[in-house]
Amino acid sequence: MNLFNIKEQPQVYDAVIVGSGAGGGMAAYVLAKAGAKVCLLEAGGYYDPADPKYITQMKWPYESPRRGASTQLRPFGDFDAAWGGWDIDGEPYSAVKGTDFKWFRSRMLGGRTNHWGRISLRFGPDDFRRGSLSGVGDDWPIGYDDMKPFYDKVDRLVGIFGSVENFPNEPDGLFLPAPKPRLHELMLKKAAANIGVPIIPSRMAMLTQKINDERGECFYCHQCNRGCYAYADFSASSVLCKPAVKTGNTTLINGAMVREVLTDDKTGLATGVSYVDVATMQEKQIRAKTVILGASACESARLLLNSKSPRFPNGLANTSGVVGKYLNDSTGASRGAFVPALMDRKRYNEDGVGGMHVYTPWWLDNKKLDFPRGYHIEYGGGMGMPSYGFGFGMEGMNGKYPTRNGTMKPAGGYGAGLKDDYRRFYGAYVGMAGRGEPVPLETNYCEIDPEKVDKYGIPVLRFHYKWSDYEIKQAKHMQDTFEQIISSMGGVATGPKPDASTNYGLALPGQIIHEVGTVRMGNDPKKSALNSYQQAHDVKNLFVVDAAPFVSQGDKNVTWTILASSMRTSEYIVDQVKKKNL
């Protein structure tokens, strides 16, 4: 009798994929379409944004008793599609003293693509060679030309809107029509142009035109973060996982929390994975000829580090010792402003798509600046649907601007006059947020906590992450730019300008949820875990398809690159199987 009651599944799959987000979903899609028998493991539950069981889209704030306020399970609000968050019961992590890392996880089919803002930027040619261009950091083992065909295929398969701009290092894609700018976006564009900051149509994964019969067209409700019942935006669950299952070649197992990758001690090859069935808390195994990790940068690193065996005492694919290192998240800093010209606005429906219609790509030359990497700027504002927090802080506003009859009144107050103030200030705010490229450092890493385990008995992560001067100076530059834009549009910045005492408002590592780099790829097996096809140097039938392999992240939200590189790796796997190399 087996002491731990481990259940072995007799079937041997062609591939087992861990994680159903952008990377794992794409691998399942490509492999299943190619005819491979795939087992797709997802730690969280099943999710379908078109099933009334899960729909939060088009609900009104009063349909939530907390009016859309955030909860532990939905930190981005009570209607957000994603389940999980920064703090998941029974799944702890920590950061060593003096360092920070916030780890956002979505435990559900499609993973964090259900939360994601759908901003879909290609890396440009320079983003693959920042090391040689700047003397700081490292180059990728591949370049834009290697990725371009896959970006093109992802554009066609998933759908993206945008505009052809021929902007330096901001490659154009195969775009659907971009939605026209909203009022505040036109004002921002004009104001930014006056100070030499470009603003162009955003590039996002919503279908402004129908692309196939499985998915509908965007109907402009501004709620992509709630999941789309028309499947008119990208989430891995709707666009990749379900079609993969539909081929008949994919076995999807939800509630499968993977513990480790199993290997054959003689051959050194991966033989499958073991996981905890979260419903029964039983240990199970899946056997497969190829193991593909798409569990997210930190979760994939954790899995490899936890997959220790006599042959691989440092964890799997870790002869180099690099697994867990070079963890890096986007920088982020933001500022808001009140725009007096937008008081007493005419009302009309300006929901638009779920997010900004315009953005600022990185427009400067770092050689002329005191920090080595760039950032882009995202914009918000408009007459959005009110939710929890609406009207907060009126006492800081209504004493500063004249009433309808031109007189001043004391701040705060109550009564009919105050009630009217909320109407007058509605839709008169803009927000802007920088998202920048950090310099990946070996000293920023995650490792296995020697003492702690999660509720499944799996050792957990401990983080070491500190921003360097590069990122802090970049955040300072963001704040200066924000003030210039706000001033140029006649706005009044809200709150004091973030200064050195807060690292210029620089978000804590992890908070921007763009972490990459923990299982980096490279040509030198002594310095990297994976080769240029995201295949482990040490274990040829082991691949990583999330953002863990990325050497750097540009100032581009990485999802489009995860999709493209996972597709590239998956096609490589199909090719290698055909050539009998796998």
């Binding site: 539950g45 069981k53 899960y54 729909i55 939060t56 088009m58 609900k59 009104w60 704030p61 009063y62 008793p65 907390r66 009016r67 306020a69 909860t71 399970l73 209607f79 939605p179 026209k180 700018p181 909203r182 009022l183 036109l186 004002m187 004009k190 109907f219 402009y220 409700c221 010209a341 005419k346 009302r347 009309y348 429906n349 300006e350 929901d351 798509v353 007459m383 959005g384 649907m385 009110p386 939710s387 929890y388 609406f390 009207g391 907060f392 802080g393 009126m394 006492e395 004493g399 004391p410 701040a411 705060g412 107050g413 109550y414 009564g415 105050l418 009630k419 909320y422 109407r423 509605y426």
Partner: protein
């Protein structure tokens, strides 16, 4: 009690220690009414919300004060009804349970208000006449004019103003008042021409 339950009760009580060791070691959890899981909720969310709904935070007296204050902050006018008509007190009651960090400032603020009214007028806030209620509110509703020793009241009134405004403008009545016209399927065609003209864009 159903017959089956009666028998169970008899087994456990009348016949003394006739329970299995396993049952004795861990009493079964109390049987809660089955929770209906609404669309868009996970079971754990539905269970939590039902539990919060069943709890009560405000005393009857506190709720009366909260209702009066919310209607001072957002009264009925020619465009829409008052905060209490829009269900604001019930919303504030829920938020106190959902975000327990708000409980002490809220409860303490209500106590502070009553103690001030008792000192000045010999009655708790809710029992004061309207003129006295206005007199005390005027001391705490204007942060930049308030006297130093009124600051606890200012902080409390800011909290009440925020919660009342959010509760009102996220209600059906408040959304209509505000004139939010979205949350309906549509085709975005850009800013209306007259608005572009108004802003010279």
């Amino acid at each position: 009690m159903k017959r089956r339950d009666t028998l169970k009760a008899l087994t456990a009580t009348a016949f003394g220690a006739a329970v299995l060791p396993a049952e004795a070691a861990a009493a079964p959890p109390p049987q809660a009414a089955p929770v209906k899981v609404p669309g868009g909720r996970l079971r754990e969310e539905a269970v939590k919300d039902a539990k919060l709904m069943a709890e009560r935070f405000f005393t009857a007296s506190e709720l009366r004060t909260v209702t009066i204050l919310s209607d001072f902050i957002i009264p009925a006018d020619s465009k829409s009804g008052s905060a209490s008509a829009a269900g604001v007190p019930a919303f504030i009651e829920f938020m106190m349970k959902d975000q327990p960090a708000q409980q002490t400032p809220m409860r303490g603020g209500l106590m502070w208000l009553d103690s001030q009214c008792t000192k000045r007028f010999g009655k708790k806030f809710a029992d004061c006449g309207r003129n006295n209620q206005i007199a005390i509110i005027d001391l705490i509703a204007y942060p930049e004019q308030a006297l130093k020793d009124m600051k606890p009241g200012v902080a409390f009134f800011n909290m009440m103003r925020n919660l009342t405004a959010t509760g009102f403008f996220t209600s059906q009545m408040g959304i209509k008042d505000l004139g939010y016209l979205g949350n309906v399927p549509n085709k975005w065609e850009g800013v209306p021409a007259d608005v572009l003209e108004q802003y010279g864009l």
